[in-house]
């Protein structure tokens, strides 16, 4: 019987939540790496027992952990993220040049074809890759070598490369997103990169339609439709049908189009999910009601999903990497909150149940669908 495994990264450790295909009874293990921030964990599509985790604190810096047994045991791997060549500068918050400095790993994206290859998105924004199972890391310098690098400026959370999407139809195509530089695409395996921000409009920046400078919060893609991308920008939910060459706003009837998380149904490439957040200073839902919004039309027309979610006095946030979908026949949707809840829906969002209520603040949620 199929089962699912949730990899939950929190402010104070990692947790692994497992259930069978019914997804109504859950085993919770952890905390692993108690006291450390786990920005992200993800499993290899090639070998689901191969997991990678990003572990850090402001005291002791960055570690990378690897598991070969589905999270039961872990081994620290290489934690040296050294920029290629002379790092140069990006813009600081006040617009002055600031040297590129490694701070942490935000996102780990295992290869679709090789369990020993994994990509890391880091702060200050750069893309690294390991081809030996995280025993060593090398920067893919083509991204920062893009001429716009010195103009990149950090968002409120830092200058972070938080989104990495590998195109299953083209091994040389990768999408990434940086707060607050925008989205980029490579079509040659990382040698060169193209900013893909045409159509984005950010009123908060000096040139609202600039080539770079947009605070992209997250991007999602359905693997069967790799040309179609969905984006939760700082404000605005966006859609591209040409691999990011141009974007159209699809916020439609959302009550607010600020937010962080966005994801796509496993079997319906036009069904997408967001969690609207009141504003960029009030990082909680409108009216104290935690609502996931679903569009079955690829945007513009949205419905609120509320069954099982708190509809009063709820003031949590859902971070950009804290939503995931499984690939069981009845698609499961999961998200974690800054209040430590992890909610699950085994019916594509119609009904929700908390798996756990009292974890540390949840930074990331990934799910594995296991045979």
């Amino acid at each position: 019987m199929s089962k699912v495994r949730l990899l939950v990264g929190t402010r104070k450790g990692a947790f692994v939540l497992t259930a069978d295909g019914k997804r109504d009874k859950w085993d919770v293990s952890g905390p692993y790496f108690g006291g450390w921030e786990i920005y992200h964990m993800k499993g290899s599509p090639v070998d689901p027992n191969r997991l990678y985790a990003s572990q850090s604190t402001s005291w002791f810096g960055q570690l990378i952990q690897r598991s070969n047994d589905g999270g039961q045991t872990w081994e620290p791997m290489d934690n040296k993220f050294i920029y290629d060549g002379v790092p140069g500068t990006h813009q600081w918050y006040d617009g002055t040049p600031h040297p590129w400095e490694f701070k942490r790993v935000w996102h780990l994206e295992p290869s679709l074809t090789d369990a020993n290859t994994v990509y890391a998105g880091i702060e200050d924004a750069a893309l690294f890759r390991s081809t030996d199972g995280a025993k060593s890391w090398q920067e893919m310098p083509g991204l920062r070598a893009h001429g716009s690098g010195p103009r990149w400026q950090p968002g409120a959370g830092g200058l972070c490369l938080h989104t990495i999407i590998l195109d299953p139809s083209d091994p040389k195509r990768i999408f990434i997103a940086v707060s607050a530089a925008g989205a980029f695409r490579t079509d040659d395996g990382g040698q060169t990169w193209l900013p893909i921000n045409q159509g984005l409009r950010s009123a908060q920046i000096p040139e609202p339609t600039a080539e770079v400078g947009h605070c992209v919060h997250h991007v999602a893609m359905h693997p069967a439709q790799p040309q179609r991308l969905f984006m939760q920008k700082h404000w605005d939910v966006m859609r591209s049908d040409n691999a990011g060459d141009s974007w159209q706003e699809v916020s439609g009837n959302l009550p607010t189009d600020f937010g962080f998380a966005i994801d796509v149904h496993a079997h319906e490439p036009e069904t997408i999910y967001v969690v609207p957040i009141k504003s960029d200073s009030e990082h909680y839902p409108l009216e104290g009601k935690l609502r996931v919004y679903r569009s079955r039309t690829g945007g513009n027309e949205w419905e609120a999903l509320t069954k099982g979610l708190p509809q009063r006095d709820c003031y949590v946030n859902v971070y950009r990497d804290a939503m995931a979908v499984d690939s069981l026949d009845s698609c499961g949707i999961y998200f974690g909150t800054t209040g430590g809840q992890v909610y699950a829906s085994a019916d594509a969002g119609d009904n929700w149940t908390p798996i756990v209520r009292d974890l540390p603040a949840v930074l990331s949620v990934e799910v594995q669908t296991l045979a």
Binding site: S58, W59, P76
Partner: protein, 100 residues
């Protein structure tokens, strides 16, 4: 032998309990002790001093003989009592560290 006391998280990471004892050749300095520590426990590389700059991480402090040595030069000799093994070098996570 040089005695080093690690903070709890780093003891867990290095899979040690209690003090660590290290043989240090040549002058006993912060740098030579940390070099020996990282050589014995490679997993600690980057956790006490930055990989790229080799500078002490901001929220890590060094104490010995009731003195804060955090701002001393990495190449300055450590107190004689540390060099002789009479006193440990304390590596401490600052109370100020951590966001939440």
């Amino acid at each position: 032998m040089i005695r080093v006391v690690l903070p709890a998280h780093l003891r867990t990471l290095a899979q040690v309990s209690g003090e660590v004892t290290l043989a240090v050749e040549g002058p006993v300095t912060q740098k030579s002790v940390l070099d020996a520590l990282e050589s014995r426990y490679p997993v600690l590389s980057g956790t006490i001093r930055d990989h790229a700059t080799q500078k002490r991480r901001p929220f890590v402090r060094f104490f010995a003989c009731e003195e804060d040595l955090s701002h001393d030069s990495p190449d300055a000799p450590l107190p004689a009592a540390v060099a002789s093994g009479a006193e440990p070098l304390l590596i401490v996570g600052a109370i100020a560290g951590g966001q939440l």
